[in-house]
């Protein structure tokens, strides 16, 4: 990974006012990937949007980590089904036209 795309976890936690332990817990659940470089830990900037969503689920909606894990999985399924539904609608348009 290029360094300018990596954000130090400490900086991220201060910026978003979240606990360090929370990010580590997300990593343990496989929901975020932490990069370790020379004993410092970083988050890749492409993950930021997803982590923001996880922060909202936990801090705003008071959903625990197990719940977040389940919800993430279900949201992925919902997105796959949305894409599949769109493909099927396009196929149907083909036969209706």
């Amino acid at each position: 990974m290029e360094n300018e795309q990596l954000i130090p976890i400490e900086q991220f936690c201060e910026y978003y006012q979240v606990e360090f332990a929370f990010i580590h817990s997300l990593s343990e659940f496989g929901l975020v990937e932490i990069a370790s470089i020379e004993e410092k830990e970083y988050l890749h900037h492409e993950q930021i949007k997803d982590i923001e969503k996880l922060i909202r689920l936990h801090y705003d909606l008071e959903i625990n980590l197990e719940g977040i894990d389940v919800i993430s999985h279900l949201l992925q399924k919902v997105e796959s089904m949305r894409i599949e539904l769109n493909d099927l609608k396009n196929k149907l348009r083909f036969y209706e036209s």
Partner: protein, 305 residues
């Protein structure tokens, strides 16, 4: 402008105590939160209504004013004007940890006209003024024709009064959504901008039907070429091509022209196939000589002579 029943929105009665309001708000927020209802505009509207209802009912001053004026909200406008002249700057609690609301999906533009007429513009904010927040994501729909998405091209869009120059890749599908990072709403206090999501609505004004990367079309074939075979020039999506027709080609027979279909999304130079269905045209207004020849042909077929 209609009166908004905040108690009804949160499914509460008018005697609800603070803990009831908080409980109801949390329950409904979990149900309609945009993160849990992606691409759902109905839930998004409902979530804004829930937030607004909570904004009023969880604030003792606002609730008192709302209960006092209620459906007689027009009088509140005059009272509000008086209040503006007396009000000192308000301070707001940081949303996180206070249980007073949500840190995202909520800006001063999300309040209804009813709210603003009763309580004025949303001065200050529930956010800590030193914290930077990412801007909201924006959604837009782009209407194009099939011809437009046959090639990769640039297009200028106006989103939220800003010109955005986009590259539209060839082969996008109807209903497909692409993300343009950083072109959504502005960040708060210097935070990063949100993203812009564009959903394509593609109409088809051509004679070709599209299914994925393949195109389908019916093409007329004269009777003589169908029977004897030969060369024919047909229309493809972007031009013409010569092809050989096999003898004794039947009506409704299909032929696949590889690589003459639609471009594959994000794979330059790669194309689907064009599938042609032959529609054999029976000649009309035939001459007497042609009729005689057809009669002779029918005798040969019937009697072998």
């Amino acid at each position: 402008m209609e009166f908004i029943d905040y108690y009804k929105i949160l499914e509460l009665n008018k005697n609800a105590i603070d803990s009831d309001i908080k409980k109801a708000y949390r329950k409904m927020a979990r149900k309609y939160h945009p993160d849990l209802n992606p691409n759902d505009t109905v839930s998004k509207i409902k979530f804004q209504q829930i937030n607004e209802a909570n904004e009023v009912l969880s604030d003792p001053e606002k609730r008192k004013k709302y209960d006092q004026y209620g459906k007689d909200w027009k009088n509140a406008q005059e009272a509000n004007q008086y209040q503006k002249e007396r009000t000192s700057q308000q301070t707001w609690k940081n949303a996180r940890g206070s249980g007073q609301g949500f840190t995202d999906n909520f800006s001063e533009h999300d309040f209804s006209d009813f709210f603003e007429s009763m309580f004025g513009g949303h001065s200050g904010g529930r956010r800590d003024s030193q914290v930077k927040y990412r801007g909201q994501d924006a959604n837009a729909q782009l209407h194009l024709d099939l011809k437009d998405v046959y090639t990769t091209h640039k297009q200028t869009l106006i989103v939220n009064n800003k010109n955005i120059r986009l590259t539209i890749p060839a082969g996008v599908e109807h209903g497909q959504t692409i993300r343009i990072p950083g072109h959504g709403g502005e960040g708060v206090n210097g935070g990063p901008n949100g993203d812009l999501y564009i959903t394509f609505s593609i109409t088809n004004s051509t004679r070709f039907k599209r299914e994925g990367n393949n195109l389908y079309t019916d093409t007329e074939l004269d009777l003589y070429t169908a029977i004897l075979g030969g060369e024919i020039t047909i229309d493809t999506f972007d031009g013409k091509v010569k092809m050989m027709v096999r003898p004794e080609t039947q009506n409704g027979a299909k032929v696949k022209l590889k690589g003459k279909g639609f471009p594959v999304y994000k794979k330059e130079g790669e194309f689907g196939d064009l599938i042609i269905t032959w529609q054999i045209k029976i000649p009309t207004h035939i001459s007497e000589k042609e009729k005689d020849l057809f009669k002779e042909l029918s005798r040969v077929v019937a009697y072998g002579k």
